[in-house]
Symmetry: C2
Subunit: 248 residues, 2 copies
């Protein structure tokens, strides 16, 4: 009896509940680096290190979404998914997420060239981001799409972040358009992806793969902040060759 | 004049000097986690975390070497390189490096099952090791072989480590056969790889690729220790789901 309950297909509501629980446990809203950020306890140099390193993640997002596009045989899916590439790479006259992220980095005092070269990105950040590209390339399309479900949690984090950044680091204000755009983009994307995986995970085993893929993605976001915290918050030290802030 | 000197082919001695300089700057013999280890300042729980996490790297070594084998068309190269797989996986009656590493982990008080499951490995360690597999899969065979040249530096580190571990953590003594075997294996392997890349890097550009591949490998070793230090040395914390030592 218990055996069969353990293997029973989850209802859409049960699946959503499990996914939300993964976010509660593992999403990076609880990471100590974010907690310091939101309390206003980071220096400008630490925000530079965050913006410069996180740029590498931003720059890989359209690559990740192009891999996902390339793996689908369904024109309707591709028509829906390609919106993400437009959002990040921009359209005629409309800057995309990558360009907006560079504005954020510039607001911390870094040059666009220095950030977009990605030369000083921490190896640990690079490996975590590249692991995300490996996941969407090597696991099933179902898992690749499920890994995007961190967007279920990003709206709350971004809303909190916008108000905390405005309050504690007012000089960052000209750089916040990336986040204001994501307030509407992310929930739309998450709703589509949640509906898609819910319909396509037809066995309990597939549902567990969906949950594991979301957990794997949370780990990748968390590991980026671990690397940044370790290198730039006392008593850490950046590895040889990585970015060294020249301001406090 | 200077332009041509910058692009001139390095002599074998100059190339070796550049490679040794990479090791001096970037090899993990200088990592703070190793410095604590060699001064006897790690707890048994911290040595457990190191042995458990570093097991994931050990377990991927024969996979890495199999990828390199699969990329060579030269039977003579493959005959020389396959020794590494035997060294790590063992032969009839002779335990290989992976089995010896498990003995080391057992000497810290962990069970072989817990270590070999790799369930509690830090995501940051996993991503760094997987980045090494990506490097040997995706870059040229010349760079894949060059990335193994960290073995030029390992003998000195291992000799120091054996004596420091015996002195400060005498209960580890039954687990040290991994290191005693590497004292002779690593220099043989390094001499072959150095000779091979020196002969095959026929342009300055290829020589620079060799140097960069060694640097990339050093970064991967360093990043593993960053992740371990951050999680297990005060005031760090392991990410959700990772190994938690139950001893000091």
């Amino acid at each position: 009896m218990r055996q069969s309950a353990e293997n029973a297909l989850l209802t859409p509501e049960q699946l959503k509940k499990r996914l939300l629980a993964v976010g509660e446990d593992r999403y990076h809203h609880k990471h100590p680096f974010h907690l310091l950020m939101h309390k206003g306890e980071l220096t400008r140099g630490q925000l530079q290190a965050w913006a410069l390193n996180r740029y590498y993640y931003q720059s890989r997002i359209p690559v990740k979404d192009s891999i996902i596009l390339s793996r689908s045989d369904d024109p309707a899916f591709r028509r829906a998914w390609r919106k993400r590439i437009l959002d990040h790479d921009g359209t005629d006259g409309e800057p995309g997420g990558i360009e907006k992220w560079i504005k954020l980095a510039e607001a911390t005092g870094l040059s666009a060239e220095r950030v977009s070269s990605a030369h000083e990105v921490l190896p640990g950040v690079r490996y975590a981001v590249d692991a995300y590209l490996n996941l969407v390339s090597q696991r099933s399309l179902l898992e690749a799409v499920a890994s995007s479900l961190t967007e279920l949690f990003s709206r709350n984090l971004i809303a909190l972040r916008i108000s905390a950044l405005r309050e504690h680091y007012p000089w960052l204000a000209p750089g916040l358009t990336y986040f204001t755009a994501r307030l509407t983009q992310a929930p739309d994307d998450a709703a589509f992806a949640l509906d898609w995986v819910t319909k396509r995970a037809k066995t309990r085993e597939q549902q567990e793969l969906v949950i594991n893929a979301l957990q794997a993605k949370c780990d990748m976001l968390w590991a980026q902040l671990d690397a940044i915290y370790f290198s730039y918050v006392e008593p850490g030290w950046p590895p040889p060759g990585a970015f060294q802030p020249d301001v406090q």
